[in-house]
């Protein structure tokens, strides 16, 4: 038993819904009580879909338990097939139905339907949403894909984009364009937009592009093993990753890779002098493993930030994220407990967070700007405008995303110079945000003495006062650096001199 308030991932059957809702011509019959229908709103409200998810819930009640929930399931299944006329159905149980062990797979098979019936076994008490999506997609591919001759021209499938995915809609479009520039056609995109008939002809492609390892990797591996389709390992998010991805596609296809980079703006935007202020910004990165890995590289190599911490909530990605963190001299935080993430952010006091909706809330509470880079996200992170993450346009979009929450170049200096100005004080935040967009942290600086790392360092009153003159967006860093510096010197107290000695020490 584990006490939870907010969760990064829903239960595994929500992952199955992400696949079903992404597809056309597929229906999901879910053995579940009525309350589980809340999941529809994830798609219709948060993602603003204009169709109901293709899900029929049996909505059994307590009074059905003693009698015949199995008949209820069979009836629901038969009437869903009659009403929606799907090309195939997936059937399964939510957490409650898993306990009553009605065996949706066996029951639906007994109906003798003339369409493929794909049973799902999703252990609700062990696994979560991403697993559910990955496993569901794999089962669908395994059940439906058929030996098909390879297309004459070089083609690939794009695997992994789902409903409720982070920017998957636009990533598919950008990726399709990029591949087309490289002379490669797209055979099928799946699950997003695919019908069961499309899944059948997956093996016609020469290789697979794995856009979202979280939701497509098991299927990609199975297709590699069964139909000899290699799949790409690099997810093209960021400039370097996109270039690596193109090279990887070249290796797989043996084709010469020529690409026009004239639309790519991130490198110049990052080199231009206004961006000097980005140098060494301390960032903390948290989200799903794929986006975290991509953003670690972008942050360090393409934005010139300093990555001070990273981690992911999906255990399936723990190993690669741990290995990556090591390369950055860090230890990865692998947890789905947002309180642990919050504590880590508080400890590290970064200048910016790259995270999910959870970190956005944490950042709000701690007064740290946050850019959202990974699911789960709220309705405002499903933008109307085109905003991919992959490829060259994705890199441009990400540059803007990461810069937007920060105080801009010259403005930073002005805030320092005129910090006594009553209208231009630091608590007012960045000028391009609403009045309340960035708030200073709820005064942790008032609580001298501060204890960090076991020993206690006392801020003398005048040093504390001086610290408060430092603009809010660097104050956390100044405080931390000074404390570390003082501890290193074995000092018990921090005076104004200590503060400035530390400043000189860390100057770069």
């Amino acid at each position: 038993m584990k006490l939870t308030v907010w969760t990064y991932e829903g239960p595994p059957h929500v992952g199955a819904m992400r696949v079903a809702t992404a597809m056309r011509g597929l229906h999901y019959v879910l053995h579940a009580p009525q309350g589980d229908t809340y999941a529809d709103l994830l798609f219709t409200m948060i993602e603003r879909r204009n169709h109901r998810p293709p899900v029929t819930y049996t909505t059994f009640q307590a009074r059905d338990l003693g009698s015949d929930t199995a008949t209820l399931f069979k009836d629901a299944c038969a009437s869903a097939v009659a009403r929606f006329q799907p090309q195939a159905i997936i059937v399964g149980a939510s957490c409650t139905a898993e306990l009553i062990q009605d065996d949706p797979g066996g029951l639906s098979e007994a109906l003798g339907l003339d369409i493929p019936v794909i049973p799902l076994e999703l252990p609700s008490y062990q696994r979560k949403e991403n697993f559910g999506a990955d496993e569901t997609f794999y089962q669908i591919v395994k059940a439906l894909a058929k030996e098909t001759p390879r297309t004459a021209r070089p083609t690939c499938n794009i695997l992994g984009p789902t409903a409720l995915g982070f920017r998957h809609r636009d990533d598919v479009e950008e990726l399709t364009g990029l591949l087309s520039d490289l002379g490669i056609g797209v055979n099928v995109v799946a699950p997003l937009g695919a019908s069961p008939a499309d899944i059948v002809r997956l093996p016609a492609a020469h290789f697979n592009v794995l856009l979202s390892p979280e939701t497509g990797e098991t299927a990609a591996r199975w297709l590699e093993k069964t139909y000899g389709q290699p799949f790409t390992k690099v997810v093209p998010i960021g400039v370097g990753a996109t270039r690596d991805f193109i090279a990887e596609v070249g290796d797989i296809t043996g084709l010469p890779m020529k690409i026009d980079e004239s639309r790519l703006r991130l490198p110049w935007w990052s080199r231009s002098v206004d961006s000097t202020y980005l140098t060494g910004k301390r960032v903390f990165i948290f989200g799903d493993g794929t986006h975290v890995a991509a953003h670690a590289r972008i942050a360090r190599d393409e934005m010139g930030f300093e990555v001070v911490g990273m981690g992911c909530y999906n255990r399936e990605m723990a190993r690669p994220v741990r290995a990556l963190a090591k390369q950055y001299g860090l230890e990865a935080l692998i947890t789905d407990d947002y309180l642990a993430v919050e504590a880590e952010i508080e400890r590290l006091a970064p200048e910016m967070i790259l995270g999910t909706q959870m970190e956005r809330h944490i950042g709000k509470r701690l007064g740290i700007p946050c850019a959202v880079i990974s699911a789960p996200v709220h309705v405002q992170d499903y933008p109307a405008r085109y905003s991919p993450q992959v490829g060259y346009e994705g890199a441009n979009v990400i540059f803007d995303t990461l810069v937007h929450p920060l105080v801009m170049g010259l403005e930073e200096h002005l805030l320092t110079m005129f910090r006594e100005d009553f209208e231009f004080h630091d608590a007012a935040g960045a000028s391009h945000h609403g009045a309340a967009a960035v708030r200073p942290a709820p005064q942790p600086e008032e609580q001298a003495p501060t204890s960090s790392g076991g020993s206690v360092v006392i801020w003398l009153a005048d040093a504390e006062k001086e610290l408060r003159k430092i603009p809010f967006f660097v104050r956390g860093k100044a405080r931390r650096n000074t404390e570390v510096f003082a501890q290193g010197k074995g000092l018990q107290e921090i005076s104004i001199d200590t503060l400035y000695e530390a400043k000189a020490h860390y100057a770069r």
Binding site: V5, Q34, Y38, T56, T96, S124
Partner: protein
């Protein structure tokens, strides 16, 4: 004098009810925690359930309330499902931890879910054990918010019904007002009752545990929410007597509700008029302004919160709408009867749901406004039907005179919005 005029063509109380027992598209009772935990400031709601339950609470809340909310889910894991003794020890441990971290908590509700009920985890026994363990500082109660037992607002009903047996016994003649209301509305109600000279007035739920809410044979009680059937029964078992009345939505509903109480407490007509005339006039004016877009339009209710019948009464009688279908998850004559009496005959009254068939009926009827849950709203909008999501009606202050205009506004906004948007070319 203040009795509402019955409809000339008869009401709906004896109209045939279409009873549906098919698939439902409604939240479960856990959802009530979202507003109950705000209302009871010293209470914590601990759901014993699955990741689904935690995800429902997070999603239904819409936006996460990031000040640490006073609710949480103890998620059952594979190990808990294996042996029962285990689950109780685990629960004790989680509760100890929680109460150690939150010394401000005085009432703890263990909330049952579908998984906890299917594995027959006895939360009543757990609550008794934990009550002894944490007495006198914390009182532990249990109720079910599970989807196999409760729909949406029935969660509040189950919670309040669980509190009734532990209310102090009193012989005093008191008015007990039952149902969680936003504080601002509750204050308005209390000042109206005070002005009428009705009292003492007690509240269930009270904002804090120490409030002097008692119950006994001389208690009379009024309900402010139409979904409190079990609480109604529990209070009657304690000897209290219900004052039946239409629910206090709109000017007419509020007046009828207050006048039923006034009659019970012998308030004279002059006092009643002195207290209510001004707010009645204000409410009428506000409704009139807010309902211009509603007049002459038709409305179709999907079953959701059990507010449907009183709201249909308000929309048809005060806002000039016609009801096509009024669906409610459950209909209790003792609670809904007075509103059904006033609802002009005509609409199909339906109880329960078969969502696909009901969607077919709505599509065929093409109502001007469809009141439905969050899962259905955007898909119906995409089909060209204007919708009002029902959950807003339980999250927004809508009771009594001063909110009557806001209530009409909630329904008229989708229609006004539709008439404001012009996306076609100018030509």
């Amino acid at each position: 004098m203040n009795a509402p005029v019955l409809p000339a063509g008869g009401g709906c109380r004896t109209a045939p009810v279409l009873k549906e027992r098919g698939q439902r598209e409604v939240f479960c009772g856990l959802t009530g925690i979202i507003w109950l935990h705000r209302k009871m400031q010293d209470a914590f709601f601990l759901v014993v359930g699955s990741r689904t339950c935690a995800h429902l609470l997070q999603s239904a809340a819409g936006v996460m309330i990031f000040a640490e909310p006073r609710f949480g889910t103890a998620i059952l894991e594979e190990t808990d499902l294996a042996g029962m003794a285990d689950a109780h020890t685990e629960l004790d441990r989680e509760v100890d931890r929680l109460l150690a971290r939150r010394p401000d908590i005085r009432q703890l509700f263990l909330v049952g879910s579908c998984p906890s009920e299917v594995i027959k985890l006895d939360l009543h026994r757990a609550a008794e054990r934990l009550s002894v363990r944490h007495a006198p500082h914390v009182r532990v109660l249990n109720y079910s918010g599970s989807g196999i037992e409760t729909t949406f607002t029935q969660g509040e009903d189950a919670c309040l019904a669980a509190m009734v047996p532990v209310l102090a016994e009193t012989q005093a003649r008191e008015l007990l007002v039952v149902g969680a209301l936003p504080d601002v509305v509750e204050d308005q109600m209390l000042s109206l009752l005070a002005a009428l000279g009705v009292g003492p007035v007690r509240l269930l739920p009270a904002r804090r545990i120490d409030a002097t809410t008692g119950v006994g044979p001389n208690t009379v009680f009024a309900l402010t929410q139409p979904f409190l059937g079990d609480t109604h029964a529990a209070l009657e078992r304690r000897g209290a007597r219900h004052i039946p009345a239409p629910f206090p939505f709109g000017e007419e509903g509020t007046t009828a509700w207050l006048s039923a109480i006034a009659a019970e407490f012998g308030v004279d007509a002059a006092t009643f008029a002195a207290v209510t005339d001004a707010p009645r006039a204000r409410a009428r004016k506000a409704v009139e302004q807010a309902s211009t877009a509603l007049s002459g339009k038709s409305v179709f209710f999907f079953p959701d919160s059990q507010l449907e019948i009183p709201l249909a009464r308000f929309l048809t009688r005060e806002c000039g709408m016609t009801a096509i279908e009024v669906g409610s998850p459950y209909i209790h004559d003792a609670l809904h009867g007075p509103d059904l009496d006033l609802l002009p005959a005509g609409p199909q009254i339906s109880e329960g749901q078969d969502v696909e068939r009901q969607l077919d009926r709505a599509r065929a009827a093409r109502p001007d406004l469809t009141v439905c849950g969050l899962g259905l709203a955007n898909p119906l909008e995409a089909e060209g039907l204007s919708t009002k999501w029902a959950i807003e009606l339980v999250f927004t202050p809508v009771h009594f005179y001063e909110q009557a205009g806001d209530l009409a506004g909630l329904f008229s906004r989708p229609l006004r919005r539709k008439s404001l948007l012009h996306l076609e070319a100018a030509e």
